[in-house]
C-alpha cells in the first residue's frame, strides 16, 4: 500500500485544559487516510468528529500524539501551515455562512491569494474550481454571493476550498441543510473530484445513507476514541454495535434488520438498495402472491 496522505497517531485534545471546565474531546485517536479513498467519520454528537477534522489541516495543534500530512509534522510549531493547507483543505459546517466577499469569484479567489500564488495562477484556479462545482466563472463570477440560492452558496464555498487544489478534502457535514437535489449534485461532484489519482476525501456525517454510499472505509468515534473501524460493509454490518452508540443504520439496513429479527431473512451484509431488492424479492416470492395475500394500505 502506498504511503498515507495523512497519519494520525495517539491524538489527544482537551478543551480548556487545566481549568475546572476541562473537557476531553479526543482521547488517543489513530487512523490514516490513503490516496484514492473516501474515509467516512461517524459518531454521536459530541464524539469528537469536528475536533478531529480541525486537526487535519492544522487549525488545531495536537496536545499529545501526532498528526502527519505527508512529511509535515503538525505537532511541530515550526511547520508552515500554509504548506499543510496546499495539501489538505477543510470545509466547515454550513460554510456558506462564511462567504464574505461581495462577488462570487472574489470569494473563491480568497484562499489561493492567501497562499501567495501569482494572479494568473489564481485566476486559472478560480476558473477550474467554479467549473468543477457547476458554477462556471463566466456566468457566476460576477454574481453577488448574497443573491445565490442555498445550494449554490454551499457549492461556491466548496469551490473556495477546491481552488486550493488540495490532495485531501476534509468535509464536516457537507450536505446538512441541502435539499435532496442539492445533496445529489454535491455528492456527484465530489465523486468526480476524487476520481483523479492520489486524491482522498474525509467525510464526517450524520447521514448514514450517504456514508454507506460513498465511503470506502468508515471510522466510528465515541467519546473521543475510535470505537469501530473497517470497510463500510464491515462497519454497517455491526448493527448492534452501532445501535448501542445511538447511531442509526442506513435505511436499507433498518428494513433488513427488522426482517432478520422477525426470522424472515438470514443476516446479511447488504448495504445498498440494489443489494437489498433481490433479498426482499425472494421473500415476496415465498408465497403465491395474489392480490389478497398482500395487506393493502388504505390512504390515511
Amino acid at each position: 500500500m502506498s504511503a498515507p496522505l495523512i497519519a494520525v497517531r495517539g491524538l489527544e485534545y482537551t478543551y480548556r485544559p487545566g481549568t475546572p471546565f476541562a473537557t476531553a474531546a479526543l482521547r488517543g485517536i489513530s487512523f490514516a487516510v490513503y490516496p484514492g479513498e473516501v474515509v467516512g467519520i461517524i459518531g454521536p454528537t459530541g464524539s469528537g468528529k469536528s475536533t478531529l477534522l480541525q486537526h487535519l489541516d492544522g487549525l488545531l495543534r495536537p496536545q499529545a500524539g501526532t498528526v502527519r500530512v505527508g512529511d509535515l509534522d503538525l505537532a511541530d510549531r515550526a511547520t508552515d501551515l500554509r504548506a499543510v493547507r496546499t495539501r489538505v483543505a477543510l470545509l466547515f459546517q454550513n460554510p456558506e455562512d462564511q462567504l464574505f466577499e461581495q462577488y462570487v469569484a472574489d470569494d473563491v479567489a480568497y484562499g489561493p491569494l492567501q497562499l501567495g500564488l501569482p494572479r494568473d495562477e489564481v485566476r486559472a484556479r478560480v476558473r477550474r474550481a467554479m467549473a468543477a462545482v457547476g458554477l462556471p466563472a463566466e456566468v457566476y463570477g460576477d454574481r453577488l454571493t448574497q443573491g445565490l440560492s442555498g445550494g449554490e452558496r454551499r457549492r461556491a464555498a466548496l469551490a473556495g476550498v477546491l481552488a486550493l487544489e488540495p490532495q485531501v478534502l476534509v468535509l464536516d457535514e457537507p450536505t446538512v441543510g441541502l435539499d435532496p437535489r442539492g445533496r445529489h449534485e454535491l455528492i456527484a461532484l465530489l465523486q468526480d473530484w476524487r476520481c483523479q489519482a492520489d486524491r482522498a476525501i474525509v467525510w464526517a456525517s450524520h447521514a448514514m445513507d450517504e456514508v454507506a454510499l460513498l465511503a470506502d472505509r468508515v471510522v466510528v468515534l465515541d467519546e473521543g476514541r475510535v470505537a469501530l473501524e473497517g470497510t463500510a460493509r464491515e462497519v454497517f454490518g455491526r448493527d448492534a454495535a452501532l445501535a448501542a452508540l445511538g447511531l442509526e443504520a442506513p435505511a436499507v439496513r433498518q428494513v433488513l434488520g427488522a426482517l432478520v429479527q422477525a426470522g424472515l431473512l438470514p443476516p446479511s451484509d447488504a448495504l445498498t438498495v440494489e443489494e437489498a431488492v433481490p433479498l426482499l424479492e425472494s421473500l415476496v416470492g415465498q408465497s403465491d402472491l395474489g392480490e389478497t395475500a398482500v395487506p393493502t394500505v388504505s390512504a390515511s
Partner: protein, 300 residues
C-alpha cells in the same frame, strides 16, 4: 360539581367573536412576502400562499432550498407578517400588534439551531422565559416549567447551565421553552437537522406523544422519512404551494417529487422497486414498519 357552570358563565361574560369559534387554528390567505420590499433588490420569498391548518393536525412542509419554507413557518406565529395577504391564528390577524401575545402562546416555534433560542444561563430559567412574559401567576409558571422539562427529559438537569448540555439536550431545552407556552400548535423548522439519530428519535418521540394528546404539529423538513410521519404534506416551490394532500398520495408520486428536486422516503423507494418486479407488492408504503409488515404478509 359547578365547575362547568362557572366555566360557562365565564364564556358568557366574554363572548368569543363568532369567527373565532369556527375559525381554523391557522389560516393563510394570499400570503406574499418580499424581503427588502421597497428597498431595491427585492427578493420575493412567498408569492400567494393559501393554507389552512386545523387543530390537532400534523402537517409536513417540504420543498427545495429557497422555496420559501422557513419564511412560511415564520408567518405562523407572527414573527413575520405578510407584505400582502393575511394570516389568522384562531381568527386573530397576525398583523394586529394587539394580538401578538395571544398568537405567540398559541403557536410556538423551534428552529434548527437551539443556540439562537437559548437565552438564560440556567436550564429552568430558560424554560420559564417565554411563559414569564405572559405574566402568569408564579404557581402556574412553576407548574408549566416542571411539566415541560419533564416531557423533554431534562428535569434532572434543571439547575445546569445550558452551556454544559450536549447538542441534543440543548435542542430539547429549546423544545421545552416552546412547550412551556402550552401552545395549540408547535412549528418545527428543521428542528432535527443538526441532531444525531438518538437526538432525532428523542425529539420525534416527544412530538409524536404531544400530537397524540391533541397538539397540532407543523414540521418544516428536508428529511422525507420525517415528512412521512405527517398526515398531510404541503410542497412549496418558488414561494407557492405546488401541491398539498394526504402524505401517502404526495410522497409516493415519484414524478412529481423529482420535478421539484425532492426524494421519496427511503422505504417508499424500496417498495417501488419491489413493486416493479412483483406487481402484487404494494408500491405506496411510507415507512420501514409498513414495508416489514407487507413483507411478513407476503411470506405468511
Amino acid at each position: 360539581m359547578t365547575d362547568w357552570q362557572s366555566g360557562e358563565s365565564a364564556i358568557q361574560r366574554t363572548p368569543a367573536p363568532a369567527q373565532e369559534a369556527i375559525a381554523p387554528l391557522l389560516r393563510l390567505q394570499g400570503v406574499h412576502h418580499t424581503y427588502n420590499a421597497g428597498a431595491g433588490r427585492e427578493i420575493p420569498a412567498l408569492r400567494g400562499v393559501d393554507l389552512e391548518i386545523a387543530a390537532g393536525e400534523h402537517i409536513a412542509i417540504v420543498g427545495a432550498n429557497g422555496s420559501g419554507k422557513s419564511t412560511l413557518a415564520r408567518h405562523m406565529n407572527g414573527l413575520l407578517v405578510p407584505t400582502a395577504g393575511h394570516v389568522w391564528v384562531r381568527g386573530l390577524d397576525t398583523r394586529d400588534p394587539a394580538h401578538r401575545r395571544t398568537i405567540r402562546h398559541t403557536v410556538a416555534m423551534v428552529f434548527q439551531d437551539p443556540d439562537t433560542q437559548i437565552i438564560s444561563t440556567v436550564v429552568e430559567e430558560d424554560t420559564a422565559f417565554g411563559p414569564e412574559n405572559l405574566g402568569l401567576p408564579r404557581a402556574e409558571l412553576r407548574e408549566r416549567v416542571d411539566w415541560a422539562l419533564e416531557v423533554v427529559g431534562l428535569a434532572g438537569l434543571r439547575r445546569r447551565s445550558p452551556q454544559h448540555l450536549s447538542g441534543g439536550q440543548r435542542q430539547r431545552l429549546a423544545l421545552a421553552g416552546a412547550l412551556a407556552m402550552r401552545p395549540a400548535c408547535l412549528v418545527l423548522d428543521e428542528a432535527t437537522a443538526m441532531l444525531d439519530a438518538a437526538g432525532r428519535q428523542a425529539v420525534h418521540a416527544i412530538v409524536g406523544q404531544l400530537h397524540q394528546q391533541g397538539m397540532a404539529v407543523v414540521a418544516v423538513t428536508q428529511d422525507m422519512a420525517e415528512a412521512a410521519r405527517a398526515g398531510r404534506v404541503v410542497v412549496l416551490a418558488a414561494g407557492q404551494v405546488a401541491r398539498q394532500g394526504p402524505t401517502r398520495e404526495v410522497l409516493t408520486d415519484a414524478a412529481f417529487l423529482n420535478e421539484h428536486g425532492l426524494d421519496m422516503p427511503p422505504a417508499t423507494r424500496l417498495a417501488r422497486l419491489l413493486h416493479a418486479r412483483r406487481p402484487a407488492f404494494p408500491p405506496d408504503l411510507l415507512t420501514p414498519q409498513e414495508l416489514v409488515a407487507a413483507l411478513r404478509g407476503g411470506a405468511r
